[in-house]
Symmetry: D2
């Protein structure tokens, strides 16, 4: 790989990124985004196929080295005042998937000029933001014939801990499973001066909050990364009426399936025990989010070596990141690794976190993921 | 007193009550209500004077035996379909003060025909429903020259425990002081997956709830009637964002000033200790409502005797009522007693509690308070 | 009744009291105490009969006016240095039952000289201190033929609130039912660094403590006198071993059977719900003590009148006393009343509370209960 | 290194180990143990010096590769029935330090025959079991001139997860800091029926327990391994006496100093806030144990390679071990690594955990640490 050659593709990446940035779409159905990508692929003389709601570009025969980019946006109103600002009211590429798709599209262009010697598969995935886009493509067999898969994520990452332009990853457990729960205690309301005639849901709510944190501190392996947060409690409207119900909501973040299933089971048991204790009813709902993401250690070692080869700082994170990513599902099927690229730039004011209405990426750094992908293909004998 | 003569005034009571029922007014300013009452007083050839926002009719010289009626209504839309339905949108005599004023007005009529031998004072009081109407009149000296004061309250009272038409009261502590408190814990919000970067106000709220009930069970004399209720807790809006603040509201009901002041002080201390414990800020507000109402034992004995004389069942309540009434302020100045008359009538469907949009009184029973007042005046040498 | 005549019996009361004080006996079997009493009764020419473990002296035929004295002592080493100090190691009349029996014995003497016109029954009862002596005598029919029963209790009572020599009582609910509970949470012990391999009984204990006070503050009528106290918690022996078990003990004081039964049921339910919540076992035990004591209002009025007649201050207590007394069982069978006599004397240093190893009574005041009994018999046509 | 040659030293290791096993000594002063070791060193013709309460054997000049063995025992009565059973009443080598010292002594013998080309330092350390023996030697400069240090620990380790004979270690944070805390809430005791006259320490204890677990779940980085355990709560002796005091004890295990200091500070603040909240006093004590142990990643990689070279299974632990070890203090001064050797043998019944009175080691495996040490010296150019 000629690093200068790779860097010469930066302008193209930026062009694609800005085009995609202006037409953000949410969920699994991304007609305009896919229209842009497929029109370019056609320009490059490349064939592609639909795979679920996503797109696949194959070079050569299996076994494939696979590279994935997600391409969906968030339901958020952009507040940046930039020439390439979102043209879709209430939608914004505030998580950098526009950059991911632009890099992968540029890689496709590169590969159209530098034919791989062996199988390579590019995945343009929709619906990463909570819509299980990866699962959609796996159901349609996107992992078949794949021997290893990698993907990257840009953003304002590792601020203060990792330098700008750094590549970050971790062997094994890397990103969390992120689930959600909802509890509704249904007591019996009444006058504030006659609690004995009521079944007070507020004390059930307070007991639940306390018990959740007892559970987290006593019942789980204390060396495992686990977050349980009750982020909402709502009951009553005024000072002297004991309400009928109390609503609680929260999030659960885990790295290991055993912890996750145990917590889901125990939270339900705790809610039911407390309802039983206070003689009331309870509705409990546990909403399973993405599975946790576990990187194959050897592939992380490769990403580390490659990063150093291309002159990027590599940071091996000592602990997992508690956010979630549906790239996890590919890694349940095949070896591979996911990594971050810190595209913040303090000088340019690019400091807002992912999912902020002010989010942006330092486009000058987008050659980094491209270089990693190309070098990875070389190491695996594809180039 | 000739009981038949008294009962012959029932029609007049009903007429006044229905007129007043149609023109409910809220608070301290009651122009139409007072217009109706004063026009009648003039018809009866009686003089009256303004006292604060209320009216006073005096017969003879001090010392006075005083009788009080409140005359304000509630901000409530009447749902009864009766000929005398409220004509004021969103206002309703849902607590029977129309009946109280009607009885007192009829008593004025009676006294215009049966001149008292010694001083009698009739009080038409506004703003009982949370507006401190009694305090307003006392500030204007209404209690000066008064040697004893009584007042009654109609309603759907003692259902199941007291028969319809019963008179109910209690010596000493009879009705509660009813106060209100508000607590706002101000922490630091953040992402649900990073609680260590936040100061979670929800755990402060849960701790406060628990500690309030520890306080009630441990720090107060357990033989005293006390209700402390946290009736509202509100913090957060969704499952994965730790909120900035938590709001709690509640009510405190006490019979003794020592308990009341101690609770007000302790709730504030508890809120501040918990805020301190969790390194956050707190705003605490305690809103003092009406003082508790303590009947003079001997006067209750009189009401009991009188009730039996006029053929009404008298129920001496074994415990105080945890509602509040600003008649308490008269009893802090002078001896006297307050009593209830159960004006429910199951057969007629008059079963809805006070403050209900379906509240009504069995008018056929309104001779009872009139008879009690007249007989009380007789016993005190006024008639 | 000639009050001077009554007072002339004071020396005799004191003699009996000092004799009995030296031979304290505990429980239902009181051979020496009964030997002393029966020998005196024989001296007075009176017949008596055994009734369960107690003694009964009847005058005339039923219906009887009954007067009861208890006569058992406490398992306590007396620390007073008085000529009449206890001669029984580890036993002491530290609750004044010696005085009670002495007064009743003197009354028997009085009645042997002043023959009652109608039926009178004197009850010498054992085992009041937790041994259900009253129940023992009732099982043997002691209440049959009785129309009214009274009893008194001396002691250091109402200090600061009632003057020395005052008679104190209350209509209706007067003394509490006093029960006991024990909870043992059986979890699974282990190393302090591996809580997830254990079932930690300490968090179950803490949850139980909190929930008991939520129960007391929310589920019970807040105008009722109720005390629930967790007075013991014990779990673990060192800093780094999670224990197998946690033990809790406490007391429950109530005035109403509904509250009492509800609490007993709820405490068991709470303990079981918490054990279930934390996946452990629990042993729950509720030990029923004496029933609550309810005085007949009219008889209290009589005690009040009599007190005033004999020149004693009468204090009508505004609230019940949370101690227990098995006189309650007589009042479940027959009308009657129980009262206290404040036999403290600050000047003489008689200030120690009942059940203290320094307890004593001001013997000069013991004519008061005697006078009350004699006057009561007169009012009921017995003398 | 000739592995067969190394294995030929096994008999010597076993001999030393059995001799040392019979003369266990506790703490910093180990006269008999040191007498045995020094006599052998003299036999081998080696010089040694005292260093604090430990012994040091140097070969060549600095820089040294250092190898450490601890040699103290536990205050425990051995329950094994073996020919080499402890001869010291109430003392036992129940943690395998006899084996550690035996291996190091044998290594000294080996090195007396195979002279190192460059500096080697052997450390015989006392007082590892809570007596800060490592700190004692460091204070005396034992780390000066050392460029890298390693040490191993035998035991029944990784049962079920690691095969017998496996070598286990982890890069970075490997073993915990283990501290202890004690809290005494000093309230005001009284009768169980009058909680309002007391300051109940039991509710303070329950609140502290709950709040500790809120702290662990909310205030700490949830990806860090942390254990906080309240392992003891003790207050009260019977059912109806509210006690004066409540005592709590617990342990804190951390891997990072920031967590550790923060917890120590916060536990004290929590205890004081709760005492303040309940108007009582509190005594808080935090007893600092050993610092956490962090392995140098590269040295762990070496141990891994060496293990594989000598035919042992190497297990890289995914999580730290929450036990403590004062080897941590060497690693705060110099690079190095600590590792475990699983010396369990199910077939021989050697299954009891370290610190058990039935603990033993499969002596046949003791050539493994010796081989690791020798190979490590070779890799570092010492042999």
């Amino acid at each position: 790989m000629n690093i200068e050659e790779v860097k010469s593709f930066l302008d193209e990446i930026i062009t694609h990124r800005r085009q995609l940035h202006q037409i953000p779409e949410v969920g699994l159905e991304l007609p305009k985004t896919k229209e842009y990508i497929t029109s370019k692929l056609k320009e490059f003389g490349l064939e592609f196929k639909e795979c679920g709601h996503g797109l696949v570009v194959d070079f050569g025969e299996p076994p494939y080295v696979a590279i994935r980019a997600d391409m969906d946006a968030l339901p958020l109103q952009e507040l940046n005042d930039v020439p390439y600002k979102s043209k879709h009211e209430g939608k914004m590429h505030a998580c950098g998937h526009d950059a991911h798709a632009a890099v992968l599209l540029t890689l496709a262009h590169y590969l159209s000029q530098n034919k791989p010697k062996k199988g390579v598969r590019l995945l343009f995935q929709p619906g990463e933001e909570g819509h299980f886009g990866a699962v959609d493509m796996i159901k349609n067999g996107v992992h078949e014939g794949v021997e290893v898969i990698i993907g990257g994520h840009v953003g304002t990452i590792g601020q203060g801990e990792a330098p700008e332009g750094a590549v970050l990853s971790k062997k094994g457990p890397f990103m969390a499973a992120a689930d959600e729960f909802k509890v509704r205690f249904v007591g019996k309301g009444g006058h504030g001066s006659s609690p004995h005639e009521t079944l007070d849901p507020i004390v059930a709510a307070a007991s639940f909050i306390n018990t959740v944190y007892i559970h987290r501190s006593r019942e789980l392996r204390q060396t495992h990364p686990v977050v349980i947060t009750v982020a909402r409690v709502s009951s009553g409207t005024t000072h002297n009426v004991i309400p009928e119900e109390a609503l609680l909501q929260g999030t659960v973040r885990t790295l290991f399936e055993d912890d996750r299933k145990f917590i889901a089971k125990r939270l339900e048991e705790l809610a039911k025990s407390i309802a039983n204790m206070f003689r009331m009813k309870v509705e409990f709902e546990y909403m399973w989010g993405y599975d946790s993401l576990h990187n194959t250690p050897d592939v992380v070692d490769e990403i580390k070596s490659i990063s150093e080869e291309i002159g990027a700082v590599f940071v091996e994170l000592p602990e997992p990141v508690m956010g979630a990513e549906d790239f996890s599902y590919y890694l349940k099927e095949r070896p591979g690794a996911f990594f971050f690229v810190n595209t913040a730039n303090k000088e340019k004011g690019i400091i807002h976190p992912n999912h902020s209405a002010y989010f942006d990426v330092d486009e000058e750094k987008l050659w980094i993921p491209l270089a990693i992908f190309i070098r990875f293909l070389e190491r695996h004998g594809r180039l």
